[in-house]
Amino acid sequence: MAILLIALLPVPPKFTSKKTKTRNAQRTTNDEILDAVFSFVFEPLEAVTKHGKEMCCSDGKVRQCFPVLAAWIADHAENETLHGLKRMSCAVCEVPVERLGWDAKEVHPARDYQKYAEIEERYVNTGGEHNVASLLAVGVKIGRNVFTGLSRVEIPLLFKPDILHNIYLGLFKHLMQWIEDFLKKHGRQELFDEVWKSLPPYPGFFVPKKAYREVTQWQGKEMRNLGRCILGVFASSLRSPTPAQQSPFVDAIRCVKALVDFSLMAQYRSHTEDTLRYMEQYLHDFHRYKEVFQEFRTSKKTREEADASDEQLRLNLERELKEAGKMPAAKRRRLLNENCLERTDKREEIHRNKSHFNFIKLHLLVHYCSHVRKFGNIPMYSTDVGELAHKVQIKEGYRHSNKNNASRQILDYYGRVHAVSMRLLTLRALQARKPEGADGLFDNADRCFLDEISQTRSAIQLTETEGTRPRRLLRGRGKNINNFKQLSENLGIPVDQIFNELIRYGRRSLENADRLTGDKERMETMPVEQFNQLEIPVLAFQETDVYDIHRARTTGERSFRKSGGRNDWVWVALGTTNEYGALHGKLPGKLRGLFKVRDAGTDGKVYRLAILQLLQKGGSRITDAHGLVHVFARRQTSKNEFWIVDIATVTGLAHLIPNGDGKWLVNSRIDLRTFNEVD
C-alpha cells in the first residue's frame, strides 16, 4: 500500500525508419524527452531537500522533513539507460568489461557522475575528441544523466541489489545451463531427473511434477524453488563418482553450494558483521571453484571457431594421408589416433581460452555487502514488490479501461481501489491500537466486518495474539476408528507392536504416574481416535511473534489428491541440543499415524501421539563437498522400526532428498530457518 505511483511517462514514438541516421536522431530525442520529464518531476523535490519543510506526521506532531532520493529500484537495463551508461557497465563502479567475472577482492574506483557531467560540458563548449574518448573508456554514453544535479543525492548509491533478476532469473539461469552440460558430460542426467521428480513437499515449496528437462519456461517463483533444492539434488545425482570424476564433482558441488548459500544469506532480514563476512566468503568460494564450469561458458562464436579449427586439422590429416600414399594399416591407425587426440586438445584449448565469466550479473554481487552496511537488508528493495504494484496499479487499470485515452482511466481506476483499501487499513490500525475510550466507538457489526477482512489475508502465517502462542492442531479425524485393533488394521502395524512401543514411549518420556498401563487387555478397551493431519506452528525466521504453519499429513495407503499416499517427513526433538551433531538433537522421521488415546485409569488423561519411522544420522565423509547431513533408514527387522512420540516433540516438516536406497540427504537449504539451524 505504501507504494505510490509518481508519474506515467510519455510513450516514446516507435522507430519507423530503417536508416541509422534517423534512428539515432530519434534515440537522442527520446533521451531528451526522458531527461526533460524527469527534471520536471524532480523539480518540486529540489528546494525541500535543501531546506526542509514542516510536515504533519501521523502521530500528531509536526516535523521538519528533508526528503532525499535514496534508491532507484530498477532492473539492470533500465539502470543503464537512466545512468547514461553503455551496455555491460556497472552503475556503481568503473569496472572494465574484461574484469566483470573476477573476484570481489579487487576494488574499482566508484563512479563520479559529477565529473562525467563536467567533461561532457567541456566537450560541448570547446570540443576536443579526447573528452569523449575518456568518457567512453569508462562506459559512459551520456555524461549528464537524469539524476545529475539533485542535491544530497549520491548517484552511485541509488543502485539497489535485485535478488529476483540478478540471482534467481540471472545467475541461477546461467548456473542451470552449466549444470545441465556438466551432467551431460558425466552421464548423470537420468539420475538428476529421477531425484528431481521425487522431492517431498514442504510449505511454500512447489513440488516439481515434471522432469527438469521437460520444463520449458522458468519464472521467478520456479527459480526460487530451484534455489531451495538444487544443491541437494545436484549432490545426490553426483553420488559415487569414479576416481577420475571425483575432483570435478567436488569442485562443481562446492561452486553450486557457494552460490546457493550466498543467495540465501542475501535474504536475511538482519545482518551482523559476521553474516556479511560469510557472504563475502561464499562469493569468494564461488569464484574459486567456478573454473569447473568454464568449458560450458562457450559462446556461439567460440564454438564456431573451435569447429573451424577442428575441420582444418581433419583436412590436414586427409591431405597427409593422400600424399603419403600406401602405408601399413597399423601406422595409419596410429596417425588417426594422434590426430584425434590433437583435435580434442585443440578444441578444449580454444574453449578454455575464449570462454570467460565476464557478464554483468556476476559482477553486481560484489556490491551486496556494502549495500547492506549502507541501506540495511536486501529483500526490502527487491523488485518483486514494485512489480506487483505495477501489475495492480497499471496493468489491471489498463485492462479495465476502454483503451481510449487509457492513462486517465488507469489513474482513476487505481485511485478508487486505493481510497477504499486505505480506509480499511486505517480502520484496522485504529481498531488494533485501541485509543483512549475507543470501546463502543465501533459497534459490533463494524468490528466483525474488519476482522473478516483482515482474516482473509493470513492463510499460511499466524501472528501471536495477546501473548498466546498458537497451538498444534490435530485435524482430519478418521471414521470408524475407535480402538487399538481398528487403528492397527488401518495403519498395517501389528497391535502388539503398537502396545510395545506405547510402553517404551511411557518409560522413555513420562513420569511413573503418567504412564499408560502395561496391561494389554485394558489397553484394548481404551478409546482411540485417528487423525491424518497435524498443524504445527513454527516460529518464522528472525521473527518473535510470527508463525509459519507446517501441515504434516499422513494418509497411510489412501491417496492424497489423486497422487498416491502422502506420509510427510517431520523433525522430532529427541535429544539435547548437542546430540546428533549438526541436527542439534532432532532426527527426521516419516510420519505414519496420528492418534489420540484416553486412559480411563489415570483420571481420563489424554495422550496425543504420533507413530513414526525414525531415520538414523550417518557420519559425514571427508570427501563430501556439499556439507549436507546424511540420514538412513533403520533396518526393517529391528524392533526399533516404529517409534511413538508425543506430538509436542514434532517440531516441523523436514525436507529430505533421496540419495539412493534407504538413504537421504537433509536439505538444509529449503528455507532460511533450516539453513540457520541445521549446520
Binding site: L8, A74, V372, T623, D646
Partner: protein
C-alpha cells in the same frame, strides 16, 4: 564416493568417516589437529558441528525428551471429540528458546541520533483525522452496508456499466443505498480519502520540434506528506536513524534506519543547516523511486514512488 577414503598424511591409515578421521588426528597428531581446527573455526559458521558429530548416532533409548521442556502438551484437537478434554494449561516455551537463541533480538542496544526526528509542535486538533473516523468510521457512506457494497464493487472489479445495471434492474432491494449509480459511487469514494488533495494528478506536455508527448505526474513532496500523515502507518514510522548492537556488541543491520546511509545523511543535514538551527529538529524521510519498462509494449512507462518508512 569411492570407498578408498582419505589417507592420514602422517601414518597411512585410511578413514572414510570424517568423525573417525578427526578423532584419530586429535589423539595421534595433536599439533596438526590444533592448527586444522583453528582454520576450521575461522571458516565454518560460529558453531563448529564437526566436533560433535564424531559419535555414531546415539542410542535413542536414553535420550530424554525432557530436554526441550515438552512435558506440557501444546496442542488441541481440531474439532469436537468424543473424549473429554482435560487440557492442562500450557506455556511451553522450550521451542521459543531454541529458535530465538540463534539470533535473538532480546538485548539489542540502541543508540539513537540525538535530536533527530524530534517534533516541533503538535498538529492542530482540527486537522486530526482519527477522531472523526472513530465517530463515523464509514463516512461519507451512511451505513456499514453501503460501504460493504461499495467495497465489494471496487475489490471485485465490477465494471461501471454493470454497477449501473445493478441499480437499474433493482437488485438492491434490501436497503436503500446512498448511491444509485457508478457516477455517484465515484463521488463518494473520492470523499473517502481526507488526504486526497495530496495525490492529485497533473498533466504535463512536452513539445519539441513538432513532437508533443503527454505525461501525468504527482508532486513528489506532497506524496511524502500523504504517506507521513496516514494513521495506518503510524506504528511503523521511524523518524530518526539508530545504531543497533546485539548482546555481544556487534553492529546489526536490519531496516534502513539501522544502516549507515541515513545516519551520514542526518549528519550532513545538521552541519549544512549551521549552528543556530540545531535547536530545531529534523526528520529525514527517504524515498525510493522506481521505474520500469512495461513488458513488451511501451504504452506507459510508469514511475512510481516508494516510501520505505511506511513499510
Amino acid at each position: 564416493m569411492s570407498t578408498t577414503g582419505t589417507k592420514c598424511p602422517f601414518c597411512r591409515l585410511r578413514y572414510i568417516r570424517a568423525g573417525a578421521y578427526e578423532r584419530h588426528l586429535e589423539s595421534c597428531h595433536p599439533n596438526f589437529y590444533k592448527n586444522l581446527f583453528k582454520l576450521k573455526t575461522d571458516i565454518s559458521r560460529s558453531r563448529s558441528s564437526s566436533v560433535n558429530s564424531n559419535e555414531e548416532p546415539a542410542v535413542l533409548e536414553n535420550a530424554a525428551d525432557h530436554a526441550f521442556g515438552f512435558n506440557e502438551s501444546d496442542y488441541e484437537s481440531g474439532h469436537e471429540s468424543d473424549l473429554p478434554d482435560s487440557e492442562p494449561e500450557h506455556a511451553s516455551d522450550g521451542e521459543d528458546n531454541l529458535v530465538t537463541s540463534s539470533r535473538s533480538s532480546n538485548t539489542v542496544q540502541v543508540q539513537a541520533y540525538e535530536n533527530a526526528g524530534r517534533s516541533l509542535r503538535d498538529v492542530p486538533s482540527n486537522q486530526r483525522y482519527e477522531r472523526s473516523l472513530l465517530a463515523e468510521p464509514w463516512h461519507p457512506f451512511l451505513t456499514l452496508d453501503d460501504f460493504k457494497l461499495a467495497n465489494w464493487f471496487v475489490t471485485s472489479k465490477v465494471p461501471r456499466s454493470r454497477i449501473d445495471e445493478y441499480f437499474a434492474i433493482g437488485l438492491s432491494k434490501s436497503a436503500s443505498p446512498c448511491f444509485k449509480s457508478a457516477y455517484k459511487l465515484d463521488q463518494y469514494i473520492t470523499a473517502l480519502d481526507p488526504y486526497q488533495h495530496f495525490l492529485e494528478w497533473k498533466e504535463g506536455t512536452y513539445t519539441h520540434d513538432g513532437y508533443s508527448a503527454t505525461f501525468f505526474y504527482r508532486d513528489m513532496v506532497q506524496c511524502v506528506e500523504y504517506l507521513l500523515s496516514q494513521p495506518a502507518y503510524r506504528d511503523d514510522m521511524v523518524y530518526a536513524p539508530v545504531r543497533e548492537h546485539n548482546e555481544t556488541g556487534e553492529r546489526l543491520y536490519s531496516e534502513m534506519h539501522t544502516a549507515d546511509w541515513w545516519w551520514e545523511m542526518q549528519v550532513s543535514v545538521f552541519t549544512s543547516s549551521g549552528g543556530k538551527e540545531l535547536q530545531s529538529n529534523y526528520a529525514l524521510g527517504n524515498l525510493a523511486g522506481r521505474s520500469y519498462i512495461g513488458s513488451g509494449h511501451l504504452y506507459v512507462r510508469p514511475d512510481s514512488f516508494d516510501e520505505l518508512l511506511g513499510g
